[in-house]
Each structure stands twice: as C-alpha cells, then as structure tokens.
Amino acid sequence: MTPSAQKTDSKSFLSGRLTQVDPDGIERELRRLWAQAADGVAAGTHPDVVRACSFNLVLFSGDEDAESKCGEILSEIVSHHPCRSILAIYRPEKPSHLEAWVSAACHLTGAALMKQICCEQITVVSEGQGSSALPSVVAPLLIRDLPVFLWWRANQSHFQIMEKLLCCCRRLIIDSGREPFNLPFLMQAAELTALPRKDVFASDLNWRRLLSWCQSLGNAFDGFPLSLDYLFTVRQVKILHSGQVADRQEISCQSLLLASWMAARLGWQPTSFLRNPDGTATAAFSYQGSTVQIHFAPKADSLPAGSVVSLTCTFLDERHLEVSYQLRQGSEYIVAATDSPDGRAEELEPTALTVSESDLIGQEVEVICRDAVYEATMNMVYRLIDMLSMEK
C-alpha cells in the first residue's frame, strides 16, 4: 500500500495529468477535485466543465506497458464515448503493491470550443496480490445504473479475477486476436459466450475485426456481382491467414471465426475437421446432400500474424469469388471480386476495415443486446475445435 497521496489541484486533474490517490479514497478524492473545478469555473479561472458518463468501462490488463498503452487507448475512447473508465492492472508476479491514480480526460466542445466535456479515468494497479484485491477496489467504483463493460485485454491465465469482476458487469469483451493461434483460448471464449447468466454476455474484438469481411462477403450476393442463389451453391472455401508457410500446423482464431460464421449462417453441418498431410487443415460440412469444404492455410504476408488475408469461394459452376485484404492509398479495405461468366473481373465497392482498438471498442459499447450471430458463430467454433481435438 502506498502512503497517502498528496493533494493535487483541479487544474492539474482537468489537464489529464495523473493524480495519485489512496485506493480506499478514490471517490472522495474525485469529489474533491470536481468541487474544486466547479469553484474554478465560478471564479472564472477554468472554462465551463461538463462531467459526462454514459457507461462504465473496465479495462483489465496485465501487460508491462499497460499504464501508458492502455491509458492512451482509453483517452481515445472517451473522447467519443463519454464514460467512467477504470484501468485495472494486475501483475501477481511482482512484489506486493496496490496503488490508484485518477485523471480527467477532457475535450473541448460547443460552438466556440468553450465548454469542456470531461470523463473520469481511474487507474488501479494491483501487484503481488491475490485475485480478490483488485476486484474489491474496482467494483465499488462502478457508477450505479449505468452499463458496465469489462474489456479483458489479457490472456486466460487470470480467469479467476474475471469471474469476480463479471459479478458486476453486463458485457465481457475479450480479444482472441491477442493470441492469434491459441485455439484453447478461443474454446474458452466459446464457453464464456454460453454464460448461464442471462444479463451478462460476451463478445470478441477479433470477431468485430471480421465484420468488414462479413459485410463484404454478404454484399457480394446482393445481386451484383452474384445473385443470392450462388450462396447456396458454394462447394469450396479457402481461407488464407497471415503466417509463416513453415508453420502450417497453426490454425488462426480469426480464420476459424470467419469459417464458423459462414457455416452457421448458411446452415452447414460439420462432419469432420482434419489435418491434411501437408499440415494445413480442412473442415468438411454437409449441406442439402452436398459436401462443402473449408480449407485453412497460411500465407506469408505483412499483416499481423493470424489475420485473414483472403477468402475464396468456389461455386458449383466453377465461378470464383475472392474477398481479400487490400491496402489502397494508405487505407485498408476488404475487396470482393469475382470472375463474370464472360471472363471479366467484377469488383464490389471496397469495405473499409476497422483496425484500431479504440474504434473497435467504440463499436462494441454501442451494442447493448446479445449478438445472436456471434453466439451462433461461437457455437460452431466450439464444435469445430472439439472435432479437431478428437482427431488428435
């Protein structure tokens, strides 16, 4: 435990500078700083300040650089989504230590940029402590009656804390992209999706990254370049992910999510998921008496490891549709293109790809209900990984 933090003034607090506070007096200190800020406004030394909050966002991390990296991401998020953000850092391997910091994330608004909209940002660092200390500080800091999002920016080794924090959360956001080939983690995520509590549900940033792919693929069957009927004549799908061609054994979480989504949406029933002699993998599905195969393979690419690079569908009439990642004039897009019956290439309007974590979280916090499509996808993920494990 740190000694009592020194009192700081509201000017420093509103400027976004971190103010260290006693972990058991965070709310008290925040009240003091806001009251001081109000006095400053009345005295004309501060511009108008509006304290805004429409939800709670708890970011859990165990990373070494969590304070700087996560703090930066949270500041970006709150500028578009006013909330109380709590950065909960857990490092059990370090010497015992618990400390807390507060700051305000403010941005100017109004016609003449004369009004400051401010959100509270609280950082709690728990080092060398058991799994109960951190939740006992974080839970009372949540603003009542507002939704609570728990962003799990960590790996699965701290699930015991997650369980404690989930008691006061409405949404759990994980990111299977942090460990792009860790299928057991994805399996655990699939289990979390089926949480028994009706009021808590899970989502995955890696899934959200895929939505541009889903949208682009879906758009391709809206009549141009392909009619909807083509969707029911898919015979083969090949999904390439960014990775070392030598590491063919690895199946990326993102590829599996994309394949599972497609299978779940189109009613394909999995029949096998096998390793091929060259180390790549193939999942087979039955659909209305036919077999559909999805082939997973790596491709050397500059994208982050495990990211989907392309998806190619082959249809009954041998036409192809390729959806691929493309960098055009510095912007990232997903582009769908097909070969027309007369041999011409037909391309759809590219779909912009959302990549930044703050943008992805921004999209997540706008969703307040269960995502049935994601849940059906995770159900398929579970079945496929289960088949692959049995095959071993």
């Binding site: 509006v50 805004a52 429409s54 709150v78 500028s79 578009h80 989504h81 006013p82 608004t109 909209i117 939505l211 889903c214 949208q215 693929l217 879906g218 758009n219 391709a220 069957f221 809206d222 009549g223 141009f224 370049p225 009619s227 909807l228 009927d229 083509y230 969707l231 497609m262 949406r265 189109l266 009613g267 055009r328 004039q329 510095g330 912007s331 759809l348 309007e349 590219p350 779909t351 912009a352 921004g362 995502d371 049935a372 499509v373």
Partner: protein, 520 residues
C-alpha cells in the same frame, strides 16, 4: 441463374447493416440547386463513407445547366467541403464516390429530356448493376412537380411490371406539398397517376432529425412517461420553433408561402402528431403513420368566428438580433413593401380524442425571434395539494409546474424541471432542471436528417415520410385559416420587432387561459 428478390441474404442477417438495400440509381432533378449542393450530395457522400449505399448504386444529376460529368463531380466535391465541413473529406473516398456520379444536362420539363434520361439509366443498369430500380428526387421548384411526373411517365420510367416487386421506381417529393388543400389534392392526383402511394416519399426533414425520432423512443421505450402522457396529468403542451434568421434571400418564395405553409402545415404538425400519437402496434411504416394520421384527423377544426382566440399571425419589423440591427420583413429582398405575409404564427389546437380531450397544444413558429430554438414542452398539472410554500411572492406561480422539455435543436436533449428543497433549516423550494444533452452523452456525430431520410428511401422504409392522408388532414385543418387570413389581411403588420418573441396577441392568447409561453 435467376434472381431471388424476396429472399433474405443470410450472410447479412444480424450484421450492423441488417437490411440489405437493393441496387438502384438516384436521379436528382434540379441538381444545380442549393438543396443538392448543401444537403443532398453531402448526405449521399456521408452514406457512402459509412458503407450504407447499396452495391450497384449510382447517382444522376439533372438540370438545365450545361456541364460535363467531371464538372458536375468537381462542383459537388467543392459543395461537400464548403457546406458539410463536419464530414471528413479524403480524396480516395471521394474518387470512389465520384466514379458513380453522372450528370445529364437536360430540360426535364420536355419529353426528349426524359427520354435521354431513360437511355442513360439503361446504360447505367448495365454498367453498375442497378437492376432498373430508380429513385427520382424532386429537388426542383414545386411548380414543376406535376410536369416532371407526367414526363417521367411518358418516357416509361414510372412503369412497374405487373405482379413483380422489381424493378421499382420511387419518387421523393420535397415540401411544400401544394399550397392549400385543393392544390395538394391536385398534386397528389398527378403523382398517383404514375406512382403507387408506397412509391411516394414526401420528405419532411424535421422527421429525419435524431431528436425527433427520439420522441417515440422516449415515450414508448420508457415505462415511466407513458402513464403520465394524457389529459389526467398533462396541463398543456407548448411547441416552439423559433428562428433568429430572416428570409435569407428567399423573399420571393416566402412571399408566396408564409410561415403557416412553410413551417406549421408540415414540420410543426408532424412534430405534434409524434408527441400526441397512440403507441403504434409495431415499428412498421404503416403502423406508425396510421397513428400519426389519426392525431391529425382528430384535431378540432377552427371556428372561424372566433379565430383570433385560436390563431395569431405576425410579421417582423426592424429590430436587433445578437446586438446587431436587422431590417424588417418588408425591407427584405424580393419582398413587397406592403406585404401581408405572416412570418409568425401561434395556434391553440385541441385534439378531440380520449387521451387529449381539452388539453391545449400551443404551437408557435416564427422568424427573427429572440433565440434560435425548437422544442416541445410538456407541462404537467400541479400537485393537487400545495403542501409546501413555494415562498415566492406570487406563491410560486411564476415558477410553474413540472415540465418535460424535448429540445429538438440546437443542443438536442431532454430536460425535466422539478422542485427540490433548498439546503438548510427551511422548507423553501427551488425549481431545478435535470438535463440530458445528446452532444455530451454520445460523443459521435449524429447523421444529418437528409442522410437518414435518403437512406430510408433507398431501403424502402417510409416510416419517416409523410403519407398522403396525413398531408390531406393537415391541409384540411389549416386551409380555412389561410383562406380567412387571405380575405382579411392584417393591417397592423409589422406587429413585432425582430429579436422579440412575436406579437403581443400571441402572449394574450395564452394569458386568456391563465398560462404563459415558456421563457426560453
């Protein structure tokens, strides 16, 4: 392979863009005008940026001005940057957008002009895959609507194939929908000769505003308000639309229209119907529009013998706005020096139904008023027994009862006014307001009204568009006043100073009922 227009694309189910829009071409008739430059093309560009335009979409601008496709594209790029600075403009996005932007210089009042259009649309059907679906946006002076619709029909562009839902034509008509009941009916008849009602989208941009749409959410998604939303608890409702600007170079149009036609017949009555409607059975376009129309049809007709007690008109004279002297209406460009056109209207309306019997709805709208604001204020009845002394000289009368204010623009939000105890050893009360501001709670850009409405039309969702029977009902209500006012021109004009809150008669109308306009 055959097309499957009625099947749902399972890959798009549950995604953010749930409803697949069908490919189509949008023809903007009057593409060189202000509406196209300031509102329409920026809205389409914003939709493109968000990926909300369907695949196989293209735009054809059409007007008499001679221009090439490229000149039109350049002009639109400049307009977006000039009139919609809030929309991020980057060259690569623009180039992709511009690639489906075309221009046809033509006289659309003439038959051959529309034949040229039909030919171009056929070409674009092949090039972009629009499947022959066309939306015709009437961004022209209203006097041309009838003529254009006739030409569109003659060139075969309004034809539907019997028994098939596609290809479809749709038409977007800008207000004013006629200038009185008979001309509105005549225009409707004209349009219906070529289009079915479900293909007609009468745009009222007020209904595209986020806060206006939020009225339904506030009322029907929250269990706490609806039980109070009736004659048992509501004393009266005030709807205010106040502008500080004058006619802004549109004197010619305003002389013909006046405030009643420009604001009340459409925006204000639509707003009122959203506030007063019964809960629809679903969010289906027809279910919502049915309920709104019922409100308009339930409005008590004006008794022309006592019209002054229910309708006040005004015209601004010289005055000051934000410390600056401004001219009177009659000194504005293209306005007659003896103009009898009203720039202010205040109405007392009653809805003769079970929910609202005897609850007055006061509506006021005007130009050059003290502050630019649009709001709906629900004034609740006072507590039945005055337990606390409000400790004001007038017993708290001036402080008024509880009010729920839905602020439409600017600073969109909701505010609840309620009494609370002053701190200390006293029972003194103070009236405070609990404020919610959209701009504070949601840090994201709200889509413009045109973005929302154009997107809805592309998707075939007519919920936020005015239906023919609603237009008819609103004209039926106000046409008698317009006739009466035309026969008895006001000799006291100008009767309010710019920067004030309208003529004294407006205040007196409420005072006679023991009420007052909100001090805004």
């Amino acid at each position: 392979m055959s097309q499957s227009p009625v099947m749902v694309n399972p890959l798009k189910e549950g995604l953010k863009i749930e409803q697949a829009s069908e490919p189509c071409a949008m023809v903007v008739l009057g593409a060189h005008g202000d509406l196209t430059k300031r509102k329409l093309v920026p809205a389409l560009f914003a939709l493109h940026q968000q990926g909300l335009l369907p695949p196989g979409f293209c735009i054809v601008g059409m007007s008499r001005t001679k221009m090439s496709d490229d000149e039109f594209r350049q002009s639109m790029a400049r307009s977006i940057q000039q009139f919609a600075p809030e929309i991020p403009f980057d060259q690569s996005t623009w180039e992709r957008f511009a690639a489906f932007l075309y221009y046809l210089p033509s006289n659309f009042g003439k038959e051959e002009g529309l034949f040229d259009l039909a030919k171009l649309l056929k070409e674009l059907e092949q090039r972009h895959g629009t499947r022959g679906n066309n939306i015709f946006y009437m961004a022209t002076p209203p006097s041309l609507y009838g003529q254009i619709v006739d030409r569109l029909a003659e060139s075969g562009l309004t034809q539907m194939h019997p028994g098939l839902k596609a290809p479809w034509p749709r038409i977007i008509v800008e207000k004013p929908f006629g200038r009185d009941l008979s001309s509105a009916r005549e225009l409707d008849l004209h349009i219906h000769n070529s289009f079915e009602e479900e293909q007609v989208y009468r745009i009222d941009h007020y209904l595209g505003k986020e806060t206006v749409q939020n009225i339904m959410v506030l009322r029907f998604a929250n269990g706490i308000f609806e039980p109070l939303w009736n004659r048992q608890h509501v004393d009266h409702v005030q709807i205010t639309n106040a502008e500080t600007i004058g006619v802004e170079g549109r004197g010619g149009y305003y002389e013909e229209a006046g405030n009643m036609r420009d604001m009340i017949q459409n925006h204000m009555l639509q707003l009122l119907s959203l506030v007063a409607m019964e809960p629809p059975i679903s969010l289906d376009a027809e279910a919502t529009r049915d309920e709104k129309t019922k409100v308009l049809k339930s409005m008590r007709p004006f008794d022309l013998k006592s019209l002054k007690k229910f309708a006040v008109r005004g015209q601004y004279g010289q005055g000051f706005i934000a410390g600056q002297p401004v001219p009177g209406y009659r000194q504005e460009e293209s306005v007659s020096g003896e103009s009898k056109t009203e720039t202010f209207t205040a109405l007392k309306l009653f809805i003769d139904n079970w929910r609202w019997a005897d609850v007055p709805f006061y509506v006021r709208s005007g130009k050059r008023l003290g502050r630019a604001i649009t709001e709906v204020a629900i004034h609740f009845k006072r507590a039945p027994h005055r337990l606390f002394s409000l400790d004001a000289d007038d017993g708290g009368q001036a402080l008024g009862p509880n009010a729920l204010v839905l602020q439409i623009q600017p600073d969109e939000g909701i505010c609840l006014k309620f009494a609370t105890k002053q701190p200390g050893p006293t029972t003194q009360l103070r009236w405070l307001s609990m404020d919610f501001k959209y701009g504070t709670a949601f840090g994201v850009r709200s889509p413009s009204a045109y973005e929302r409405l154009v997107h809805d039309c592309i998707q075939g969702d007519a919920t936020l568009f005015a239906r023919t029977d609603a237009v008819d009902a609103s004209w039926s209500l106000i046409s008698p006043i317009l006739q009466e006012w035309a026969q008895t021109p006001c000799n006291q004009f100008p009767n309010y100073a710019a920067g004030s809150w309208g003529p004294a008669e407006s205040d007196e109308m409420l005072l006679a009922d023991g009420r007052a306009w909100r001090i805004i």
